[in-house]
């Protein structure tokens, strides 16, 4: 009855050899091309470092004013602005200003990059059904894979630091914006599309004059999710040398510093609230004339 209780797995030696072969090739790849890969990503590193330095070195009142201005532009309501300012002030008082700026800088750059990559991919996914179906499979895998697993190949190829952290965050955060761009385009009213055809729109006119403007509220929801996922990943990415609030949490775990962990955790929640409020309010304002015909 032994064969019933133990699953008939592949030969142990074969499995071992397979793993060794894959790991070996990856290592060889790293050894052979590690230098050039790093050089390839060097400009990215410079951009990330520059962005982080700007955020850290900027005088704190200026940063608060900038965020307040963005909140006002997005929401046009004083309550939103007040919430943003209050959150930032509290974070500063807790002594987490520098870490918070590092985290915001990484999250923002990862989000901007995700939008730049994700929206075109979403459009491609919508236009070419075959490619779209394949992409959907890849996105499903990306979203269900435990995020720690992403860290392994990234670390092997690029070591630890900002660039691998950035890549891991982008990979984790990009799926929602792709999916929701595709969804937003698909949700555009059939009648409106027919009108666009009847007036002789070319494909690109239809996309840029009709589909994308009407998809924007949905795309904004995708951007919101992308930001939230990037924030979540920042903590995990601290394990591969990303500095900021994530690192602070990691230290707290390693050393059982309860209060430090809680404070850093709340700071992350605070940033999440700021980003969420701003992007949601902006999305709502865009929705005004684009949603259903009768509000």
């Amino acid at each position: 009855m032994d064969w019933l209780l133990n699953f008939p797995q592949l030969d142990a030696g074969f499995l071992l050899n397979t793993k060794r072969f894959i790991d070996g090739s990856l290592k060889a790849l790293t050894r052979g091309y590690g230098q050039s890969i790093e050089e390839f990503f060097y400009p990215l590193l410079q951009v990330l470092t520059f962005f982080e330095q700007v955020m850290i070195r900027a005088p704190w009142p200026l940063v608060i004013i900038a965020f307040a201005a963005i909140a006002w532009y997005a929401a046009r309501r004083w309550t939103e602005v007040a919430a943003v300012v209050l959150t930032l002030v509290l974070i500063g008082l807790m002594g987490l200003w520098k870490e918070t700026m590092m985290t915001i800088s990484l999250v923002l750059s990862a989000t901007i990059f995700s939008i730049a990559v994700g929206i075109p991919l979403g459009i491609v996914m919508n236009r070419y059904k075959r490619v779209g179906a394949a992409m959907k499979g890849v996105l499903d895998v990306m979203q269900t894979m435990p995020p720690f697993v992403y860290l392994i190949p990234v670390v092997m190829l690029l070591g630890i630091g900002r660039v691998p952290g950035f890549i891991a965050v982008v990979v984790y955060a990009v799926p929602p914006i792709i999916r929701l761009t595709d969804l937003g385009i698909r949700l555009v009213d059939k009648e409106v599309l027919e009108a666009a055809d009847a007036f002789g729109c070319s494909r690109s006119q239809k996309l840029w004059k009709v589909q994308m403007p009407l998809a924007i509220p949905t795309v904004m929801a995708g951007i919101n999710q992308t930001i939230m996922m990037a924030l979540g990943m920042v903590v995990i990415a601290s394990m591969i040398g990303v500095q900021g609030l994530g690192l602070s949490v990691l230290q707290a775990i390693n050393n059982q510093y309860f209060t430090q962990g809680i404070f850093s955790g709340f700071a992350i929640v605070g940033i999440a609230i700021i980003f969420d409020r701003i992007s949601q309010a902006y999305g709502r304002r865009l929705q005004q004339h684009r949603g259903t015909t009768h509000e």
Binding site: V192, G200, H289
Partner: protein, 340 residues
């Protein structure tokens, strides 16, 4: 603006929906019914051997209940739907043979369409909706604004240029839809149940506006409706569709006086015949009748007016007069009553 000289010739048009429509054209031509095609072969017969000559500069109404294929038919004219077989010749060109680029040009310059559910662009103001067609053609917005403003005023929306569609009522939205179509200055105007979603009173207003506009513009208009009153009021020529086939075509007089079958008879029953039938259709030759003392009615007078005239003067017949007041025939109270 000169009258449209564009006529539309639809010849032997078939539309079959399903996985392999082409294969079923021949069986349908040989007389396979819609039911047999649907039940035994899983294809839907959308349009069955449609032949219509739509004259230039007139309003052609296509009437039918839902599912009769009328919306499918109008979408063939600008090829939003591809036919399975047949031809549609506009200005000497078979539009079914156009390449993708030619078709786009034809849609931009040859036709404009008004939709049942308005289909306005919700993220654009009234002005930007009206200039949309010209913008698609690549005409600078600043240039097209002036013309657009004229149409916005003409449809009675002056002062609403900067509003968004969601801020307007249904009737106003459809005015925007009409202005958007007119601003393209095309010779063909396609109106797909354009007024069906509107309240009865607003619908009558919009019909009046269309008739007024048509007097100036003389476009070739294809108007789809499920409402016989609307069809008779607007149509210079009416086609009645049922289950994808034409049941009858002709002007309103013919349809009212000689309904082709029971189906149309049922429609016609509830219509106010006196308003649409004209005395021309029932007048008899003069045959030397002494006309001096009888009241006079001009050609084109609807029966309901004629009846009123006769009872006011309490005579049993009237002389019909043509151009210059020349007597051309005679109508009797009896023949009017028979027609009603």
């Amino acid at each position: 603006m000169s009258k449209s000289e564009t006529s539309i010739e639809i010849r032997n048009l078939y539309k079959i929906f399903g996985p392999d429509p082409k294969a079923w054209v021949d069986p349908v031509r040989r007389g396979m019914s819609k039911e047999e095609l649907g039940n035994s072969h899983g294809h839907i017969l959308g349009l069955n051997d449609i032949n219509i000559s739509m004259p230039a500069g007139k309003i052609q109404v296509i009437m039918g209940l839902s599912g009769s294929g009328k919306s499918t038919l109008i979408r063939h004219i600008n090829r939003l739907i591809e036919p399975t077989a047949g031809s549609i010749v506009i200005d000497g060109r078979n539009i079914l043979e156009m390449s993708e680029d030619e078709l786009r040009e034809f849609r931009r310059r040859g036709t404009a369409m008004v939709f049942q559910k308005f289909a306005l662009l919700p993220h654009r103001t009234v002005m930007d909706n009206v200039t949309f067609g010209l913008e698609v053609r690549g005409i600078d917005k600043a240039k097209s604004r002036e013309g657009a403003m004229r149409w916005i005023e003409r449809v009675g929306l002056k002062g609403f240029e900067t509003r968004y569609p969601s801020e307007l009522s249904g009737g106003m939205q459809q005015r925007v839809g009409l202005a958007r179509a007119l601003n393209n200055d095309t010779s063909i105007l396609l109106m797909d149940e354009a007024y069906s979603a509107l309240d009865p009173l607003i619908r009558t207003d919009m019909q009046t506006m269309l008739l007024d506009l048509q007097k100036e513009l003389g476009k070739t208009i294809v108007f789809i409706t499920h409402d016989l009153d609307e069809a008779l009021r607007l149509g210079d020529n009416v086609v009645i569709l049922r289950d994808g086939s034409i049941v009858q075509q002709g002007d309103s007089q013919e349809i009212l006086l000689r309904p082709a079958d029971d189906y149309i008879q049922r429609f016609v029953k509830d219509v106010n015949r006196g308003r649409y039938i004209k005395i021309d259709r029932i007048m008899e030759p003069l045959n030397g009748t002494e006309a001096g003392s009888l009241p006079r009615l001009a050609l084109g007078t609807p029966l309901e007016i004629a009846v009123k005239e006769l009872s006011d003067t309490s005579s049993s017949a009237a002389v019909v007069t043509g151009a210059g007041g020349r007597p051309v025939g005679i109508v009797s109270q009896r023949s009017i009553m028979a027609a009603l």
